[in-house]
């Protein structure tokens, strides 16, 4: 059953019809009641037929409401859901007061209890599951096309409306057969949650369906097992909660799309950017001193980066950890802001690279893209962190190896990097 619902759910969720399943599962209730009334016993077949008819009536009413009135889709769903449900409740309460009503425990349909299943029910469920699997494999292509591109499906001559109704029929079929296990309300959970989980794990429809079926099955097995552990534990809610748990696990811990790993990656990038910005600030500070000193004061760096002193101190420690710089030993009686820092050879070349990226991009924007010189800085601030070596070479070629940026500052050259900072300083300050 988990498999069947999972498979159907794959189609349902990708068609943005999740709440349709919910509506359908409520709307079949009067059908169940009427079916029961008809046969006056808990006969699976008459109940299933009744539920099918009610489900179809509900679907039909929703599309009718959508076509003939200005009522929004959400309201239409709500109207049908609650209206049908109310009729169902009326019928059920009426049935309970009639003579044969008490024998059945028909309100099991509301919550479901797996232990109360008869062999007949299990057979019906197995058959419907196999049917759903078969049909989805046979009509996979058709269902896929109609699900994602209505216009295209119509143009290649597929009977779109027919397929739509066909899908709805399958949907109500799986809803009805699962009713007895999980009950009216939680059926929709079985439709939505495994498919939603699968949609986090994968983007491809085929693997989405497989995952969704697998997850449905796992949740079903674990939930049922849990419900056997305790005495009075209800099956339906446990199955649903298990699949919710699986969803949460996938949401946070999936290696590619999990939020935790995304967050970690994002943090890593943020730190890299902060580091590069600090290196750039060091370069600018050195440049401001005309490359006459080999150290910079942390206080000046903090001012350039517009961050507080403690933050600056942390940044400096990061630089040291990455071997980009040395913190010089503290002399006596100095303010924290007067601590000094000097770049290592790797730090120097890294700082040159960033500044070069920044200035090259500014030049590229002004010369080739015709930006005004005072508009290019913001853009370069972002792009400097992502430009790769190859792109930089390309830009250099386009701009024919420029020396200065639009603001008249020197672009650090390959030679500067190779020469190293100390040599540059010495060379610069030699008369």
């Amino acid at each position: 059953m988990g498999v069947g619902c999972g498979l159907m759910g794959g189609f349902v969720v990708t068609r943005k019809l999740s709440l349709f399943g919910d509506t359908l599962s409520h709307a079949v209730l009067p059908g169940v009641a009427v079916g029961f009334l008809w046969s006056q016993s808990k006969n699976s077949i008459s109940i299933i037929v009744g539920a099918m008819i009610a489900g179809f009536l509900g679907v039909f009413l929703i599309s009718l409401l959508k076509k003939t009135t200005k009522v929004g889709l959400d309201s239409a769903l709500g109207l049908v859901l609650s209206g049908f449900y109310a009729v169902g409740i009326c019928l059920l309460t009426r049935i309970q007061k009639m003579e044969f009503g008490n024998q059945s425990g028909i309100d099991r349909y509301l919550f479901g209890q797996i232990a109360g299943l008869s062999t007949q029910d299990v057979w019906a469920m197995g058959i419907s599951c196999i049917l759903i699997v078969l049909i989805t494999t046979i009509f996979y292509k058709e269902l896929l096309v109609t699900g994602f591109d209505h216009g295209f499906a119509r143009s290649i001559g597929l009977p779109v409306d027919l397929l739509q109704y066909f899908l709805w029929m399958l949907l109500s079929f799986s809803v009805i057969t699962s009713l007895q296990v999980v009950g009216v309300i939680l059926v929709s959970a079985l439709l939505i949650i495994p498919a939603a989980t699968a949609s986090i794990i994968t983007q491809k429809m085929k693997s989405l369906l497989l995952w969704s079926a697998l997850l449905g099955m796992v949740a079903g097995v674990i939930g049922t097992y849990l419900s056997f552990l305790g005495g009075r534990l209800p099956t339906g809610p446990l199955i649903v909660l298990t699949s919710t748990l699986l969803f949460i696990l996938a949401l946070f811990f999936h290696p590619e799309n999990g939020l935790l790993f995304k967050w970690l990656r994002l943090r890593g990038k943020e730190r890299k950017i902060a580091l590069e910005n600090t290196l750039k600030a060091v370069y600018q500070e050195l440049e401001w001193n005309n490359f006459s000193q080999d150290t910079v004061q942390l206080g000046n760096l903090a001012k350039r980066r517009r961050i507080s002193m403690p933050e600056m101190h942390l940044e400096a420690i990061h630089l040291v950890k990455k071997d980009f710089a040395f913190l010089l030993p503290v002399k006596d009686q100095v303010l924290p802001s007067e601590n000094t820092l000097s770049l290592s050879p790797t730090g120097w070349s890294e700082a040159c690279r960033i500044v070069r990226n920044h200035r090259l991009w500014e030049l590229y924007l002004t010369n080739e893209v015709q930006y005004a010189a005072d508009h290019v800085h913001e853009d370069a601030e972002k792009i400097e962190h992502v430009l790769g070596d190859e792109t930089v070479r390309k830009i250099e070629r386009i701009l024919s190896n420029p020396k200065t940026d639009p603001h008249g500052k020197l672009i650090p050259s390959q030679q500067d990097i190779e020469q190293g900072y100390i040599d540059k300083m010495i060379a610069k300050n030699l008369p």
Binding site: V13, K16, L17, S18, L19, G21, D22, H26, L37, L65, T68, T69, K70, V71, G72, D74, S75, L77, G78, L79, L81, S82, G83, Y85, A86, V87, G88, I89, C90, L92, T93, R94, K97, M98, E99, F100, D107, F111, I185, L186, S188, A189, L191, I192, I193, A195, A196, S199, I200, R232, L233, P234, G236, P237, L238, V240, L241, T244, L251, L259
Partner: protein, 320 residues
Amino acid sequence: MTEFFPPLDLNDTFWAPWATQKDFAWNAQIVGMGIMVSLSCGLIGAFIVARKLALMGDAISHGILPGLAIAFIATKSKALFPMFIGACGAGLLCSFCIEWLHKKTPLKMDAALGLTFTSFFALGVLLITQMGNNAHIDAECLLYGEIGFTPLAESIYWGSIEIGSRPLLSIGLVTLVIILIITVFYKQLMVTSFDQTLSVSLGLSVRTVHYGLMLLLAITIVASFESVGVILVIAMLIFPSTTASFFFTRMPAILFCSFPLSIFYSFGGFFLARWLDCSIAGSMVVVAMACFGIAWLFGTENGILTNLFFRKKTILDHSN
């Protein structure tokens, strides 16, 4: 074997409930409860429907269940205040979860909604069944409610004067609060419902109004779930305003329509339930559904018959 439709005994159905003073007091409470539930839901519902949040109401009404259960377990009583806090907390948490899932993950709105509220609901059902039989709230009562128990609930006393039964009193209070809030903040609600850009430029916080409305919705649902059950609350939210929208297009008119409609639903539902001997809340919604059907057919704005008639006329106009 009893027939499904018992013969309609006019006297028994319509007159007997009001014959003696005791019966009158009893049944008047039930009908009064029905009126106030459908009135408060209808008023809030008009805004909910206008904002296309109808299914949010569905979600919240399911989502409050664990809150109720936890409040009950914590206090071991059905006292109004903790229940109220628990339900509001759970309702707001539910709507936060939905929005967070919608914004921060690739899930679409409907999937986020369905996922959240079914999980909340499952948790709630699990908690309630764990409480066992000593609990006064059982899952079925929450699901389809029993308005007929209203007079059975314990009364609240002011000093030594009996004021009324607890559910009646709480829903009365909620109805008053809702009417008050809607009259005071009418403009803000309207602007944020229909023109978000304008409301931002007027300096109104759309988010605050949104969550305020969600809170109000949660309050209404808490006050009415006992009598109509969590699912039929949705019906009470959506039916009045959609029915009214077949006759009126302006918001004030739709809001005022909730008054006669709620009175009609309550009396109609009461009589229907008395005739068929079934759930009162259920039959109230059945009456609401019938009203909606009639409005759909005969409504002056976009009713099926009106549309047919007018369309023909416009076609004729063109051909002349």
